[in-house]
């Protein structure tokens, strides 16, 4: 008796897990409220930091307030999927350390899928709202046009940007298969993302290469957003970003799965 499990199977299964998960989430009100407050606080403090910075320095590398705000909103929206769907990565370290991770290996489904599907985080939606608000506000002030094509472009490149962020967090989480106290890797990677909202043109030399191709934070907002902000002058990297995004996501997934295989499950 062999079963083939394809995309349709996984989609259906994910939907079912999601529905169940949401149902139980509703019954834990306190948790929901606390994490929502947490989310609002994070966004507020991020915004305050941004305002303080611009109060002292009106432009950064030729980018004015509203363009920077656009980048900021873009990065917030791009971060939503990683918050909502891939939040369980934060628990990976503890699972691996305690040996509990082994339970994900006994089911006839993809281990990565099974692990990630376990947690859906609603609070990320607050960030989405905040990001969209910022995006719309700066969109109006910059005076960008509104058309079907540009909205479609926006969506495609937002998804692209979030693929890079997911890839970064996957890779950071997967380090725990090799490194025992890797908690800090995720923490710092999560702080790296704060720099995604600044134009990548501030980097130069070898670090420009590193932040573009090794730790691709330049793709979390800067390159994909140029397609919208500067349509007459789109760099090649921006155009290639959807392909690169898929590639980075795939590589991070492979890295994660390699970790599962390398891990010797000695924790008990």
């Amino acid at each position: 008796m062999e079963h083939v499990r394809g995309l349709a199977f996984y989609t259906k299964l994910y939907r079912k897990i999601l529905v169940q998960d949401l149902k139980t989430k509703m019954s834990y009100r306190a948790d929901f409220i606390i994490s929502t407050i947490g989310m609002i606080m994070t966004n507020l403090s991020g915004f305050v930091t941004f305002l303080i910075l611009f109060r002292n320095f009106p432009t950064i590398n030729g980018w004015d307030y509203y363009h920077m705000l656009f980048l900021y909103g873009f990065s917030l929206v791009a971060l939503t999927p990683v918050q909502c769907f891939f939040d369980n990565n934060w628990n990976l370290r503890f699972m691996v350390y305690s040996g509990d991770f082994i339970k994900y290996c006994f089911r006839p489904v993809n281990v990565f899928f099974y692990f990630i599907s376990e947690v859906f985080d609603v609070k990320g939606l607050g960030q989405l709202a905040f990001g969209i608000g910022t995006l719309v506000y700066s969109w109006i002030h910059i005076g960008l046009p509104v058309s079907f094509m540009i909205i479609l472009k926006l969506i495609v490149f937002l998804i692209t940007a979030s693929l890079f962020m997911i890839a970064l967090m996957n890779a950071a989480a997967a380090t725990c298969f090799w490194i025992k106290n890797s908690g800090y890797v995720m923490v710092i990677m999560f702080r790296f993302k704060d720099f995604a909202k600044y134009p990548a043109s501030i980097f130069s030399g070898i670090f420009k290469v590193i932040f573009t191709f090794v730790i691709p934070i330049a793709f979390v907002a800067y390159y994909p957003s140029l397609v919208i902000l500067d349509p007459d002058n789109v760099p090649l990297l921006s155009l290639l970003s959807p392909v690169l995004g898929i590639l980075f996501f795939y590589l991070s997934y492979k890295f994660w799965m390699l970790g599962v295989r390398k891990y010797d499950f000695t924790g008990s």
Partner: protein, 313 residues
């Protein structure tokens, strides 16, 4: 070959670990050291398990039991040797192997923590693609074996340890696997719960002819469920036969219980070949009054203890 649910041939598993040094200075040295050593967790273990058989897989802590189980379930790849689970190599196709096995780790629930049990079951039904009628039959079977009413709508996080273990066992059998691995299923449970779990395992094994590999430290589990036991120590198989055979090997051993003047029972294990039981009693009688005497065959617990201590060789 066809008749075996599980075949292991000369299976070995080595681990590479860093040679750690002692003390604060050693810790700083280790930061830069490349001094590795190889540890053989499992050495040349061969094993055949028939369909429908329940075997007790025993051994002291750190003997290599869980490493073996992890290899059988396809999580670890053996360093050398061959394993066939249901005729297939487990680690080569993990997903396929997972369809044929069920796993329960005592104290580590594999169910969705916050979902009611029935919802977990439904998700598992989807994951294993169990046909609707087979699923319904299974639920009916469960109802006939245990009282699942009190737990079926309860989230796993709110269950007692016993209920959780029960749920995990039911979940492991849900897709009617050929083999189920039970790792210390009764650990930490009270006597009546242990009984319930044992009769459930027995019932499921009988109804579905499921092969069960049971690791445990509780000889009550072994007595209740297993005809055959396999004992592993320091990575090597040291015993593989019926319990009865083992007991007859120690046939000359008797446990002597004596109730003394202060109403306490004193027990000792005596090898009749070497010591005369009457002598022991008479010697004791000179010291104190003996109110009552009971003579028993050696218990499984004591047999296993003797084997762990190396008396079987």
């Amino acid at each position: 070959m066809e008749d075996y649910a599980l075949v292991m041939k000369d299976v070995c598993k080595d681990f590479k670990v860093l040679n750690r040094h002692e003390g604060l200075k050693g810790s700083i040295q280790d930061l830069f050291s490349r001094d590795y050593k190889t540890i053989s967790a499992v050495k040349d273990v061969s094993l055949n398990v028939k369909r429908g058989e329940i075997i007790g897989y025993l051994g002291p802590n750190g003997a290599g039991k869980s490493t073996t189980i992890k290899m059988m379930t396809g999580v670890l790849e053996p360093t050398s040797g061959e394993i066939l689970v249901n005729g297939k190599v487990p680690y080569k196709n993990r997903t396929e192997n997972c369809e044929n096995i069920g796993v329960v780790f005592g104290q580590r629930s594999q169910l969705w923590w916050s979902l009611p049990l029935i919802e977990s079951f439904k998700l598992l039904r989807d994951i294993y693609m169990v046909p609707k009628n087979e699923y319904n039959d299974m639920i009916e079977l469960y109802k006939s074996l245990v009282d699942i009413e009190p737990i079926i709508n309860k989230p796993v996080r709110q269950m007692s340890l016993g209920q959780r273990t029960l749920s995990d066992i039911l979940a492991a059998f849900l897709h009617n696997p050929a083999i189920v691995f039970l790792d210390e299923p009764t650990i930490g449970l009270d006597v009546s719960m242990k009984d319930k779990i044992r009769s459930l395992i027995k019932g499921l094994n009988k109804e579905k002819n499921t092969t069960v590999i049971l690791t445990t430290h509780d000889m009550g589990d072994v007595d209740a469920l297993c005809k055959r036991i396999v004992i592993i120590d320091k990575g090597t198989k040291i015993y593989d036969n019926d319990i009865e055979h083992l007991k007859s090997y120690f046939g000359s051993y008797r446990t002597l219980h004596m109730r003394l003047a202060d109403d306490t029972w004193e027990s000792m294990l005596i090898d009749e070949k070497e010591t005369d039981i009457m002598d022991v009693i008479m010697r004791k009688q000179k010291e104190t009054k003996i109110k009552d005497i009971r003579l028993e065959e050696i218990s499984t617990e004591e047999v296993i203890k003797k084997i762990y201590e190396g008396d079987a060789a």
